[in-house]
Every structure is written in C-alpha cells, then in structure tokens.
C-alpha cells in the first residue's frame, strides 16, 4: 500500500499557463521569479504520476522536495519505496 500522503514542493522552470497547470490539479501553483513552484499533498503513486506528467510534457524539472514541517526522526510510513 502507498504510504500516507506527504507535502511536496516541485519547482519547474518557466511559468506554467492554465493549460499546463490543468495537468496538476492536485497541486497549488505559484510563481517564484522565472520559476513555477507546485505544492501539495501526494502519496507515492500520485508523486510518480506527477513526475510522469512532467516528463511527458517535456517540462524542465529543477527541484523536488519533501517538506517536513518538524524534523522528528524517521516518519512512520514516510518512505516512497515498495
């Protein structure tokens, strides 16, 4: 089973318009300089789904980060591997 959803931040080069943003309905977009930053709660399948979309749409992926609000040592079920 998928681990519980966790907050992720994904940074993409360029400003995504309405068409491209519609590929990521689960993520909230904001512009940061010339970049677009997408954030949202994703479980493993959702995360890989987003990565596949980024690949399919030929987007320039700059950064991907799992956001951990408090740095408690190992989160339960927080690893994204089978």
């Amino acid at each position: 089973m998928d681990p519980a959803p966790a907050p992720y931040m994904i940074r993409i080069n360029g400003h995504l318009g309405a068409t491209l943003l519609s590929a990521f309905p689960a993520l909230a977009p904001r512009h940061d300089g010339a970049h677009t930053v997408l954030t949202g709660m994703l479980d493993c399948s959702a995360l890989y789904g987003v990565l596949a979309e980024i690949e399919a749409l030929g987007l320039d992926l700059l950064e991907i980060q799992k956001l951990t609000p408090d740095r408690k040592s190992p989160e339960p079920g927080g690893r994204c591997s089978p």
Partner: protein, 859 residues
C-alpha cells in the same frame, strides 16, 4: 549499438529519420515504433520480427508466428537473432520510444537480443528515460554509443541553419535570441519555425516570445494553434484524445467530413502529425504535442469529452479493437459498460495475447467502480500467474453474482465461470467434483445476436477444450475425445488456431490411455499419428515448442519410450522440456518426470529413474485429488526402490497407500517386484494373481503385460521353466500388436526371453527386436546414418523384412505369413535389391540403420 536517451521533444525520432534517409545508406533499416503504453511484449516482438523480415527479405514471404497466450519472449529473442544472423549484408535495427514498452518481462528479453547481436547488425534505441537493460558488457567492450539530451541540443549555428532551411528571414540577433530562449530544444525550434513561417513580423515574434516567462512548449503551441484555421483546430482538439487517428474516425469525432485531407496537409507541413503506414491512412500526433492538446481540450471543452470517448469506443468496438474500445469507455466514465466489455472479451483478449493489457485495463477501474463481473477477469489473471487460491476466491465472487445477474447475461457468465473452474481444478488435480457441474458446457450457446454468438464462440471453444482436457486427465474417455474433437472443429471455424492446436494436443494425450485390459489394434500408432498431426499444425503457427503443444510432444516421447525407441524418445522429451519452460503446472510436470523415469528405467539406469519417479511422486502429492496416473507413478517408484536393493523404503511407500490404491494392478505389480527382490517368488506370484485374473483395476493392458513378465520371472526363480515360458508367451502375445518393448526392459526380462525356444516362438519378429533392445543395440541406438535413402519397400516386402532378424527359415516365414515359399523368395530378392545388400545379415543391419524394422512403419 547506439542509445539515444533524451526527454520529450529533443528530436530523437527526427534525428533517426534524417539519419536513416541520408544518401549512401548501405545498411537495411528495420524500424519499430513501440506503441503507447505497450503492456504485452508479444505485439512488440511480432512487430520487430515483421520489420526485420521486410528489411532483410529473409523469410519475407513467411507468415509471422500467430499470437498466443503462452508467448515465450526468450524463445522469440532467439528466433529474431537467428533471422538476423541469416540476413545478407548489414542491418540497422531501430527501436523507437522504448520507454513505452511496459511489459515487465521485456527488458530481460531485449537484453538477451541486444547482447548477442551478430556483428553485421547495428541496433539503435530511442527512449525518454534510461531503461534497465543490462548492457555493461557492451559498454566495457566499447560497443555502446550514447547520445543524450546535451548532444541533441541545437547550437546557435545549427539554429540559424534550421531557420534558413525553413525559409525564415531573421536577423542574427533574432536567431541568437530564439536559440537562447529555447535553449536549443528541438521541439521548441520546430514550433517556432512553424509560427515564424509566413509571420508578418518575425523579429517582433521572437522578441515577445523571449520576453515571456511561460514555458517554451506552451507558449509556442498556443501561438501555433492561434494561427490555425478553425477546421484544423476543430480536428486537432477532439482527435488528440486518440492514440492514433484515421480520416473516418476523425470525421466521426468532428462530425464533419474531410478530415483525412487535413491530416495529410498537416503531415506535409511537418506540423507534428505523422502517418503510421505507407498508405498514409493512420496518423499519430507527436506525443508532446498530443499531450498539450489533450490538456487544452480538457480545459476548454470539458463537457464534450465523455461523448467524444463514447463515439471513439463505438468505432473501435465495431472494428474489433477491443482494448482501445474499453480504454475509451473508461475515459468516458462509463464504468459499468467498461466492466461488461472487459468481462465479455476477457477470453478473446487472452487468446489475442493481450493478457497484460487486460490486467492494466482492470487496474484502471477506480476503487468505487468495482463490479462483480470483473472478478472473472481477476481470476483469469490469477490463473495465468499461478495464484490458485486467489483465483478460487475471485471465481467464488463471480459465481455468486452469476446466480442473479441482469437479464441476458446468465448463460455467458455461467459458461465463463465453469470454463475457469475446470482450468483451476486441473491445475490443482482436483477434477472429480467439477466435472459434473461442467457437463452442461457441451451444449451449444444460443445468443440473441450474431455478435453474441461470435463472442460466445471463443468462450465455448475454450470451455470445450478445458472440459475435454479435464476429462482426459481424469480418464473420462470417450467424452474427452468427443469434446476435444468438437472444440477443435469449432476453433477451426472461428479462426482460433491456438484453441485448435490445444484441443488436438490434448487429444493426442487422451488417446494414449486405453482403459481396456486388452490392446486395441494399432493404438500406439494412432496416438503417434494424432500427436504428429497436432505438432505439425502447431509448427505451422510457430508454436512447435510452446506449452500449448507440450501434451502432444510428451505423449509422442512417451510412446517412443514404450516402443523401445529410447533415443528418439529422449529427443522428443528434451523438446517437451523446452516447451514447458514457461509453464509450471504440477500436472504436466508430473508427466514429464514420469516419462523421463520410464526412459531411464528402460535403459536400465535405475538410480536416475528413481530420482525422476520420486520427483513425479512429489508433484502428485501436491495435487489435491487422485490423479489418473498416480498408481503407475507410485508403483514404478516402489519397484525401482526394490530393484535398487532398498526394499525397506519401498515397503514404507507401500504402507502409506490406502486400500483402494494398494489393490490396483500397478501397485500389485510393485509388490511382486519387492517379493522378487526379497527372494520370495511365491509371494510375487500371489501379488500379481489379481492382475492376471482381471480382478484388479488397471490403467491399461500394459500393466497386465508387466504382471505376466513378473510372474514369468517368479516361475523361473522357482525353477518352473515351462510356466515361465508360458507367462513370457502371454506377455509377448499382448505386446505384439503395439510392439511394446518397455515392460520387458523395465522388468529385466532378457533371460526370460532368451530361454524361450526361438524357432517355435509365435512372436519371432517382436522377440528379435526385444532382444536387440535389451542387449543395448536398439534400432535407434545408431544415429540415423547419412546413407542414401533406400527405395520404398512394399507392404509385403516390409512384412517379410520383419522376420529377417529371427532364426526362422524361409519356409517357416512363409508359413508364419500364410503365403507361399515362392512369394517369400520373390520379396526377399526385391528387398535385397532395394537395400543394396547381398545377404540376410547385411539386410538386417541396413534395415536397422534405416529404421525399417518397427511394426509402426508397416502400413
């Protein structure tokens, strides 16, 4: 080998096409484009083989292997390699969009191909991301070139050249700006060139583009679409929902004619549309372009999308493209319809080699949209993967649902459930209970429409094959023969060669059993003929070493061993092993070990035989119900243990049997072997008594032959030569019509036979053959020689020939055959002439080399 690994829109395919089309290209090009989200490796491999045959002209006229549910990718990789090896001159093998190949088995099959390519073959792969192929050996050997995203980027000079070639006048500064903005990304430059061509102010376009922060593709596609006439937009947007499109389908989706012309124009304009076939009827959009268009449709026309998918689904179902139809039905959100379509076509999809595609479609149903009919499809996947408990659980769900289904669906569901239950029961070896419930399968399906009947035909043919197979394995003859024949005829009518081969293979297997305690005339010859026919048909479809034909291969091997043709039997057995590489069903593996054990036992290699019989016995213990062949396996296991001087082990196995099994003829024989090994011939005679008087149930008359021989050995040990000879004569009489050799070899009856007065023996020819085999010079022991073939002998000549190895004189042969001495002499002269020999002993030798001495060769 070359790998081109770079993201979408980097120009991989364009590079390939430009490279392949360059002048002076000496290599022949075999190009395969992997279809989007390809789950079943078989379609990929067949496309690859087809491309290679077209490119090389080798086997160009031959038909491709037909699709099979038992696809063996490694065997296919070997076949592709051998066809490549035969190709004259250099070949370039191109696999485009390798990342779309999602079959879990494909990477290792492909690795096998790519690491063994002959030197005159160059492979080029393109992929969006690195795929897991084990190519480090090639890399170390310096035989692997990699082209990656950075290599594909256009330089500023190349950007200028592209613009010049496209007839776009742009200042050097403008070109530099464009290059900087697109970062040399091929798709970006191509899109820009499309918009720039004929643009009134190219410099301004580049300046505005450069000033925008939007992503390159989105900005440029929006620009390009804005410049398209409405009819083109009306075509591109809805048809982007399809993986591939033709004029008719596009007309259907747009609701107006003329789509084909637009598609052709777009391809000619190099506008991200390309045709898929030489006749330019099917087209696809560049993946990146299609994905962006799809997003655009979802954003701008969300309400129309379900109806578009429904229309597409209707077209695909009318054209027999079930998987695509189901995909669009799912995309339309019509989950119940999609579930029914999938359940209704699950047998057909499996037969079409699309099992993985089917499971992928199954996984696409969201949690809340599960449907009881899908349990059937799940059970099918479980069975294919050998997850028998899960299959049983899913079948139970489907069966409960089939009791109260919506109107018009009950019959079909019942048949589907019963067909799968039979298959499951056979895998588990538990047939008794299921057979009664499944008998109704033999009555024909009547559907309300032609389509229903056609759908039902696949299902019905599968049901008949499963029913007949189950009957064959539980000795339910002659129903097995009738149902398998009926299944084969139906399969042929509906164009399902896989099922026809499957039915005929099982028919070959079924016909080896003759419950009768007396031999039928030519029973083994009939069995061999049926097996050879089934194998020939399988070979025609490229399935000569596939699991589907394994029962016939194994049965043929078994009959060879029974007839003492051990070398040829061994060859067929090896081929059976190859065919069963991908099938792990315990039932058929049991038979494989049993036949191997027979072969070793026949050659007097008892330790090896013990190992095989032990393995067979172990598999039998894993099967739930009692197996038809169980007593034979157990009996031979016990007998072999006794012969190897381990009577304690033999008695332990014996003690574990229930009364029913212990009183079977096969086990009684085994008891006799223990007694003989213990020096108790009287006990042995007592053990076989019930077999000889016909009160013990036997698998076939072979058990009686064995009992006679054991009795003969016992009499001999008791010093009663006359009774021993009588027993041996009875065994010979029974074995005569099939010319059985194995029981004599297994029981070690050489001395018993040698003691027979050979002049008076009524079975002189068989006796001579037997002694040959028992003394290790089997007719097949010599490899088939390279001597020129002899002129065909007539049936009369062959009959006389059979008596040449005996001590019988010419008059005695004449009296055996009830012909005149003159006839025998004439035949003999003719035989000598045709075999090009001068005397009787060299005629015998030559006839053995030519393998003319078996009765089965006699018409």
């Amino acid at each position: 080998m070359t790998i081109i690994s770079a993201p979408a829109g980097s120009g991989k395919t364009s590079l390939l096409r430009a490279w392949a089309g360059r002048p002076g290209q000496a290599h022949r090009l075999a190009l395969v484009q992997v279809q989007r989200d390809q789950r079943d490796a078989q379609q990929f491999w067949l496309a690859l083989l087809d491309a290679i045959r077209h490119a090389t002209g080798v086997n160009g006229g031959a038909e491709l292997p037909a699709v099979t549910p038992d696809f063996n990718g490694h065997a296919m990789a070997d076949r592709v390699l051998s066809e490549l090896a035969d190709a004259p001159g250099g070949v370039t093998l191109v696999i485009d969009d390798l990342h779309e190949l999602r079959s879990p088995e494909a990477p290792s099959q492909l690795t096998q191909l790519l690491t063994s390519l002959p030197p005159h073959v160059h492979a080029i792969l393109t992929t969006r991301h690195d795929v897991r192929l084990r190519l480090h050996r090639l890399r170390l050997a310096g035989e692997l070139a990699e082209i990656r995203a950075a290599d594909l980027r256009f330089s500023e000079r190349e950007t200028r050249e592209l613009l010049d070639a496209s007839g776009i006048a742009l200042s050097a500064a403008g070109a530099a700006l464009l290059h900087q903005r697109t970062e040399g990304w091929a798709a970006g430059l191509r899109l820009a060139a499309l918009s720039l061509a004929g643009h009134p102010d190219a410099e301004r376009f580049v300046a505005e583009f450069s000033g925008s922060d939007r992503t390159v593709a989105e900005y440029l596609i929006a620009e390009m679409l804005e410049r398209q006439p409405p009819d083109v937009l009306d075509l591109l947007l809805p048809t982007s929902l399809l993986d591939r499109v033709n004029g008719e389908l596009a007309d259907l989706l747009t609701g107006r004619p003329g789509s084909e012309r637009i598609l052709l124009t777009l391809e000619d304009a190099n506008a991200f549309v390309e045709s898929l076939d030489p006749g330019r009827t099917w087209f696809r959009y560049h993946h990146l372009f299609a994905d962006l268009l799809r997003l655009e449709v979802r954003r701008t026309l969300p309400a129309e999308i379900p109806a578009l998918h429904r229309r597409a689904a209707g077209w695909f179902i009318r054209h027999g493209q079930v998987a695509e139809a189901i995909r669009h039905t799912q995309a339309a959100g019509d989950w119940l319809d999609a579930a029914r379509l999938l359940a209704d076509h699950s047998f057909s999809l499996t037969l079409d080699g699309q099992a993985q595609t089917m499971q992928a479609l199954l996984r696409a149903f969201p949690r809340g949209e599960d449907h009881p009919e899908l349990a059937l499809v799940r059970a099918m996947g479980d069975l294919a993967q050998g997850r028998l408990d899960e299959a049983a659980a899913h079948l139970a769900v489907a069966e409960t649902y089939a009791k109260t289904p919506p109107p018009g669906r009950q019959r079909r569901l019942r048949v589907a459930v019963a067909a799968l239950k039979l298959s499951l029961a056979r895998r588990r070896g538990h047939l008794a209970g299921v057979m009664e419930q499944a008998r109704f399968l033999a009555s024909p399906v009547t559907g309300p429409s032609d389509e229903d009947i056609a759908l039902g035909s696949d299902l019905r043919a599968v049901a008949l094959m499963n029913l007949g197979t189950a009957e064959a394995w539980s000795l339910g003859l002659p129903e097995a023969e009738r149902h398998l024949r009926e299944g084969a005829v139906l399969a042929r009518e509906i164009g399902r060669p896989y099922l026809e081969v499957g039915c005929l293979a099982q028919l070959g297997f079924a016909s080896i059993f003759h419950g009768a305690a007396m031999p039928k005339i030519d029973a083994f010859a009939t069995t061999q003929r049926r097996c050879r026919e089934a194998i020939a048909l399988a070979e025609r479809y490229g399935w000569g070493t596939e699991p589907v034909i394994a029962p016939a291969l194994m049965t043929l091997a078994g009959t060879m061993v029974w007839l003492g043709e051990f070398d040829e039997g061994e060859r067929w057995l090896r081929r059976t092993e190859r065919a069963l590489q991908t099938d792990t069903g315990p039932d058929i593996r049991l038979l494989l070990h049993q036949t191997a054990g027979m072969l070793h036992a026949g050659r007097g290699r008892h330790p090896e035989a013990l190992q095989e019989f032990g393995a067979a016995e172990h598999l039998a213990s894993q099967l739930e119900g009692s197996q038809a062949l169980a007593n034979q396996v157990t009996g031979w296991l016990i007998a072999t243990q006794a012969r190897l001087g381990r009577p304690g082990e033999a008695r332990a196995v014996l003690a574990a049997l229930d009364d029913g099994r212990a009183s079977s003829g096969e086990i009684r024989n085994a008891v006799a072997v223990i007694c003989l090994a213990d020096g108790d011939p009287g006990g042995a005679l007592g053990a076989v008594q019930s077999v000889l008087d016909g009160t013990a149930p036997v698998l076939g008359y072979v058990t009686v032959v064995e009992a006679d021989l054991l009795a003969g050995l016992a009499h001999r040990a008791l010093g009663d030569q006359r009774a021993a000879s009588q027993a041996a004569e009875r065994a010979l009489a029974l074995a005569e019509s099939d010319r059985l050799v194995l029981p004599f070899a297994m029981t070690g009856s050489a001395a018993l036979l040698e003691a027979l007065p050979r002049h008076q023996a009524a079975h002189a020819a068989l006796l001579a053959d037997l002694l040959d085999v028992l003394h290790g010079s089997s007719p097949a022991a010599k490899e088939q020689s390279s001597l020129p073939p002899a002129e065909e002998l007539s049936p009369g000549e062959l009959r006389v020939l059979r008596y040449l190895p005996t001590n019988l004189s010419r008059p005695e042969i004449a009296s055996e055959l009830s012909v005149s001495l003159n006839t025998v002499s004439t035949h003999l002269r003719s035989v000598y002439a045709k075999l090009q020999v001068r005397d009787r002993s060299s005629a015998v030798q030559r006839a053995r080399e030519l393998r003319l001495l078996g009765a089965r060769r006699t018409p």
